[in-house]
């Protein structure tokens, strides 16, 4: 955990439906509790984090305070473009000409990968020790609630690709600088969230390989979310199955069925966690299944407690 919080930019990605936002928010809470000025960045107008953590719906690219030391921002490529131009252009008038120009808007909209590049550019800016945005305070840690695996990869790859394609000129230069920051292991870390099921585990392992190939970064940690309690041993299961034959009331039968089902599912999860353990270089971090509505404040808090404890236990050991 300490190594993750020491970075400036942390990407949280993973297959759809595994609780990426929840884990990103929990990490944000842990960081803020440790006194790091932290921003949770959402991509592509999801606005799930600010909603879930009780914030107001924000204007694009506005930094909103959620809790002491914890902020959120929703990244809008169009807004990022205007901001970039203001910084890039020596003369203010020139930036305004471009911003107002329809032809330029078309250019930005039509260029493949431009949205991803602009999004990545803004994330990079957030993570700068010296912010480029005028009057903006620096953050110690930027945590990105990245889109699902495929699109998340596209954002991480865009700067490298543009640096190559553009070869020379300001975009090549800028994209090259961002690519360098992404591939600097002390600066940027990519983590994945998975469920202990066949498909998400396979996708996580594929993601690890894809990241290694391009942009050439390791997957530094895998969080296995919603791990069920492993309440029953094999011997228990046999006893429970035996009791089914004699159980009288529907409630007792339901309890026994649910127990057998819980046993089977926990067993399946254990196999998948073992698969991750075997194939990854780092030990996956297991997060318990929290019974409650997905996206509720208590879920974030509970996970943050678990993550905080894991970190403290490790530090003590």
């Amino acid at each position: 955990m300490e190594d993750l919080l020491a970075k400036r930019l942390l990407f949280v990605t993973g297959k759809g439906g595994v609780g990426r936002s929840t884990v990103a928010a929990a990490l944000g809470l842990v960081a803020a509790r440790r006194g790091l000025r932290t921003v949770l960045a959402e991509v592509a107008g999801q606005e799930r984090l600010s909603r879930a953590l009780g914030g107001e719906a924000a204007a694009p690219s506005e930094e909103i305070r959620l809790a002491p030391g914890l902020f959120t921002i929703s990244i809008d490529p169009q807004h990022a473009l205007e901001e970039y131009l203001r910084v890039q252009m020596p003369a203010r008038a020139m930036a305004e000409v471009l911003s107002a120009s329809r032809a330029f808007q078309y250019f930005a909209a039509a260029t493949p990968g431009m949205r991803e590049l602009l999004t990545m550019g803004k994330l990079w800016e957030l993570a700068q020790v010296q912010r480029r945005t005028r009057g903006a305070d620096p953050f110690d840690l930027t945590i990105v609630d990245a889109p699902a695996t495929g699109h998340g990869l596209a954002i991480l790859r865009a700067p490298g690709t543009f640096a190559q394609v553009a070869r020379v000129g300001p975009i090549a230069h800028q994209a090259g600088a961002i690519h360098t920051a992404i591939t600097d292991r002390s600066h940027t870390g990519v983590v994945a969230v998975a469920h202990a099921e066949e498909m998400p585990v396979t996708e996580t392992l594929d993601l690890r390989d894809a990241l290694r190939a391009d942009p050439g970064v390791p997957l530094v940690r895998v969080f296995v979310n919603a791990v069920l309690p492993d309440r029953f041993s094999k011997r228990h299961a046999t006893a429970i199955a035996g009791a089914l034959d004699t159980a009288g009331t529907p409630a007792a039968r339901a309890a026994l069925r649910a127990a057998l089902s819980g046993h089977a599912r926990a067993g399946g999860q254990r196999d998948q966690v073992a698969r991750l353990r075997e194939r990854l270089d780092t030990d996956p971090v297991l997060l318990p299944f929290v019974v409650g509505e997905d996206g509720e404040q208590q879920v974030f808090e509970r996970l943050a407690d678990v993550l905080g404890q894991t970190a403290t236990a490790k530090a003590a050991a």
């Binding site: 000129g169 409630a251 309890a255």
Partner: protein, 378 residues
């Protein structure tokens, strides 16, 4: 749900079992005697492997009937399956729409295209449905089942043809189609300044590559537009139906409702909702967990009985959450849409056996389904 349909499109947010559902439906229809092809993008590898699809063929392949015979499933028809390779499909489309070889090579060899073609607005969604359109036109199958790509948002998929069309019709492309005449003649004074600034911001090389890319695509605009129109027609055809796949969790239900509204607004044909991974609650109301523990104690001993009761408590919370979410979904959908609930199965589904388990629920009558649920839960 699928009577008289040629095309079934499974939509929904990521991680709700779309691929599995599409495969189960296709398998069920094939077992009933139809010639069915299931089209999917990057499914779980083990599912693909279990259907004998090791490689990206980009054309449907017959799934070996022996696979089903081994599991005691009588296959009266044929199940075909294909994994879509979006890049290759896009290349094929360019090949088909190019006026000549030179134009085709210009696009395929362009660095912007090579590096970034997958990022063209909605291209992955568009290629999936363009392939579907082709398969439908070739008419080799009674039914095509499409597993929609795992997009950020299920709506991206519906909008893809329109977005691609507006991309081609848009001024952006038009601007680039005249790379030599950017001066005052066409766009007036303002644009001259804009482009000199643009060159400064982007670098000349990038601008040139882009110009070539857009110019060579330019020759295919009419072809793309025609294709997009045909694809749109297929989406709203009476022989097409949309099936919404969701989990009972809040976010995926919200997305499903949103998608359904959009389908209705666009007058797209809608077949029904499949809710996967439902924790069923047949006990209803509150459970006295202490009482359950007491009942089980003689047989299991106090410790294990307490643990079994605790486990039931957790399950019951989930069952109530699921029921509340499903009721809300039903009411938001106007209470008239067909809805099939598939229970949360104990095993992860990634083989023919797992598909069969799902199939049993999908193909059952209401009464059979209730009976099966009693068997699962209580």
């Amino acid at each position: 749900m699928l009577e008289g349909k040629r095309v079934a499109i499974c939509g929904g947010s990521g991680g709700v079992g779309k691929t599995t559902t599409a495969a189960a439906i296709a398998m069920g229809m094939a077992a009933d005697g139809a010639r069915v092809a299931v089209v999917t993008i990057d499914p779980a590898r083990r599912l693909a492997t279990s259907l004998g699809l090791e490689e990206l063929g980009n054309e449907p392949r017959l799934v070996d009937p022996k696979l089903f015979a081994k599991r005691g499933l009588e296959m009266k028809g044929e199940l075909w399956a294909m994994m879509l390779d979006p890049k290759r499909t896009f290349d094929e489309l360019i090949d088909r729409l190019s006026p000549n070889d030179r134009a085709r090579d210009e696009v395929l060899n362009n660095r912007i295209y090579q590096e970034l073609s997958s990022a063209v607005a909605g291209s992955q969604e568009f290629t999936a449905i363009a392939k579907l359109y082709e398969l439908d036109r070739e008419g080799d199958f009674d039914l095509l089942v499409l597993d929609t790509p795992p997009s950020r948002n299920a709506l991206d998929f519906l909008d893809a043809p329109d977005r691609l069309t507006s991309f081609f019709e848009g001024r952006a492309l038009q601007v680039f189609l005249r790379p030599t005449g950017l001066g005052m003649k066409i766009f007036g004074r303002g644009t001259g300044v804009v482009f000199s600034v643009l060159k400064r911001v982007t670098g000349i090389d990038l601008l040139q590559d882009l110009s070539v890319f857009f110019r060579s695509l330019g020759g295919m605009i009419d072809g793309f537009k025609e294709r997009a129109a045909a694809v749109n027609a297929l989406l709203s055809d009476a022989g097409t139906t949309f099936l919404l796949v969701t989990s009972p969790e809040r976010e995926s239900i919200e997305e499903a409702t949103f998608f359904w509204r959009k389908l209705k607004a666009a007058r797209m044909p809608f077949g029904g909702v499949l809710v996967n991974r439902v924790h069923h609650d047949l006990l209803g109301g509150d459970i006295d967990l202490d009482d359950v523990a007491r009942q089980l104690e003689p047989e299991l001993g106090p410790k294990l009985a307490a643990r079994v009761a605790e486990n039931l408590g957790d399950y019951h919370v989930l069952a109530r959450r699921d029921r509340a979410n499903i009721e809300r979904l039903a009411s938001q959908l106007g209470g008239e849409e067909r809805m099939i609930l598939v229970p949360h199965l104990d095993d992860d589904v990634h083989d023919v056996e797992g598909l069969q388990a799902i199939l049993r629920y999908l193909w059952a009558t209401e009464a059979q389904r209730t009976a099966m649920l009693v068997d699962v839960v209580a």
